[in-house]
């Protein structure tokens, strides 16, 4: 139960930080017109979601570890 409280408090803290910062403008140290390289498809964390989802499933079904893959996952990993 205490673990759930910690998780809720953590999420609440993040939300408050977001709201406190989301309305203020920050002068970005990388300007929008300087982000062309970052927008290149080879820089994407999830270039092919179908392929990434599949290979994550291959590993999760054979390893004890799980989660924090950056995608929502789902389905059964029992095979």
């Amino acid at each position: 139960m205490s673990r759930l409280r910690i998780i809720r408090a953590f999420f609440l803290l993040i939300c408050v930080v977001l709201l406190a910062t989301g309305c203020s403008s920050v002068d970005p140290w990388v300007k929008p017109y300087e982000r062309d390289r970052l927008a290149d498809p080879i820089m994407s964390f999830d270039r092919d979601p179908v392929s990434n989802g599949y290979i994550n499933h291959v590993y999760e079904a054979r390893e004890g570890a799980r989660g924090a893959s950056g995608s929502s996952g789902g389905g059964c990993g029992c095979n």
Partner: protein, 387 residues
């Protein structure tokens, strides 16, 4: 119109601590967001390792509807032929099929993206329903994207050898992600996820072995018994760097720990090199974990403890993976309603080495059989169109 004021959020959450209220309030203060690209993917996947062959298609269609919605549907099939070491030592080989459907949508409001999805996985002895909700928002003039997610799964476990057997297993996950522009050449992300399970978490077919002098082999089997709860924490850091001659390197590390005493480390690096319309990918992944506290390859006697496991996924082991990928982009100038297309081939070779799971197929003195290891080949062939 609902406005985002920190004091209001705190007051509201004291009365109602539900995450949904938080997330909906959060949505009111959002900044820039972009819906995912419209695309169609057809993947053929093939796995062969440890006596198990699995293959099948995965089809994805994603399309923007209006200015604010993007909808998607995914159809996935695993056709399984299993003669794994677990199966051949304690049961008999089998064939089966798992089918998974998932649908969902993303909603762009002001500058925040909210995502909902539902998935159903079905095989003759296992059904799973999963709901996911997520929200992502850019802050600091687009330098930072923060995402939150919640998922809930409801599984039903059955047995093909006992028609009266039916148990439930529920799963909840809480996700937090931050992606950050570090420099004009570098991106980084941090993801944290808590997953809790409750219900029947073991496999109704799997057995553990224990020393039994009365047996001809020196050991016998009994059904495994797992705790009915599990909570895990995982945190991952990833980065990508754009090289001056248009190539990219990436790396990542994940730490995992759970209340079954499994600790795991995952590290990976990779390199992407475009050559004209071609893309070449190479990568390496290392994984290592400790065993669950109730795991043993050979228990000293029957019912040696209240929880018993001999699932090699819960044992102490490490794995190494090598990846090669090649892709070719075509229709780069578009054709009618198509913007572009690509065809990709990925090959992963995975080496699994177990520290305390023994290969008992060849007999020998119980507890002194050779340690088990195997290699797996994973092939993906992917056609994609953007429109």
């Amino acid at each position: 119109m609902l406005r985002a004021v920190p004091g209001v959020v705190v007051a509201a959450t004291r009365r109602q601590p539900g995450l949904l209220a938080l997330l909906l309030l959060l949505a009111a203060g959002a900044q820039a967001g972009v819906l995912p690209e419209d695309r169609a993917d057809a993947l053929y996947h093939y796995y062969d390792g440890g006596g198990v062959q699995i293959d099948g298609p995965s089809l994805l269609m994603r399309k923007q509807v209006g200015q604010q919605f993007s909808v998607f549907g995914n159809y996935y099939v695993d056709t399984i032929s299993s003669a794994s070491i677990d199966v051949v030592t304690t049961a008999s080989a089998y064939d089966e099929e798992r089918t998974e459907y998932s649908v969902g949508f993303d909603y762009l409001r002001a500058d925040t993206i909210m995502s909902f999805s539902y998935g159903n996985s079905d095989e003759d002895d296992y059904q799973a329903d999963t709901f996911n909700f997520g929200i992502a928002q850019e802050v600091f003039s687009g330098l930072t994207t923060i995402s939150l997610g919640y998922g809930k799964g409801s599984d039903t476990v059955r047995s093909n050898v006992d028609s009266s057997f039916e148990e439930d297993a529920d799963k909840q996950s809480y996700r937090l992600g931050i992606s950050q522009i570090i420099t004009r050449n570098m991106l980084a992300s941090v993801n944290y996820e808590v997953i809790t399970d409750e219900g029947f978490l073991n496999n109704p077919y799997r057995s553990v072995r224990y020393l039994d002098p009365a047996s001809g082999t020196g050991f016998s089997f009994q059904p495994e018994v797992y705790p009915n709860t599990r909570t895990s924490n995982a945190v991952a850091v990833r980065g990508r760097y754009f090289l001056p001659y248009r190539a990219a390197v990436h790396g990542g590390y994940r730490f995992f720990t759970d209340d079954w005493d499994i600790d795991a480390h995952t590290a990976e690096v990779g390199y992407t090199q475009p050559v004209g319309a071609w893309n070449l990918d190479v990568g390496y992944r290392f994984y290592t974990q400790t065993s669950a506290e109730f795991y043993s390859d050979l228990f000293p006697y029957e019912d040696a403890q209240n929880f018993l496991a001999r699932d090699k996924e819960l044992s102490s082991f490490d794995s190494h993976s090598l990846r090669l990928g090649v892709s070719y982009d075509f229709l780069q100038d578009g054709y009618q309603f198509l913007e572009k297309g690509s065809v990709k081939l990925f090959y992963d070779r995975i080496y699994f080495n177990y520290d305390d799971f023994r290969d008992i197929r060849g007999g020998g003195i119980p507890g002194e059989e050779p340690l088990y290891d195997f290699e797996a080949d994973v092939v993906q062939f992917l056609f994609s169109f953007w429109f």
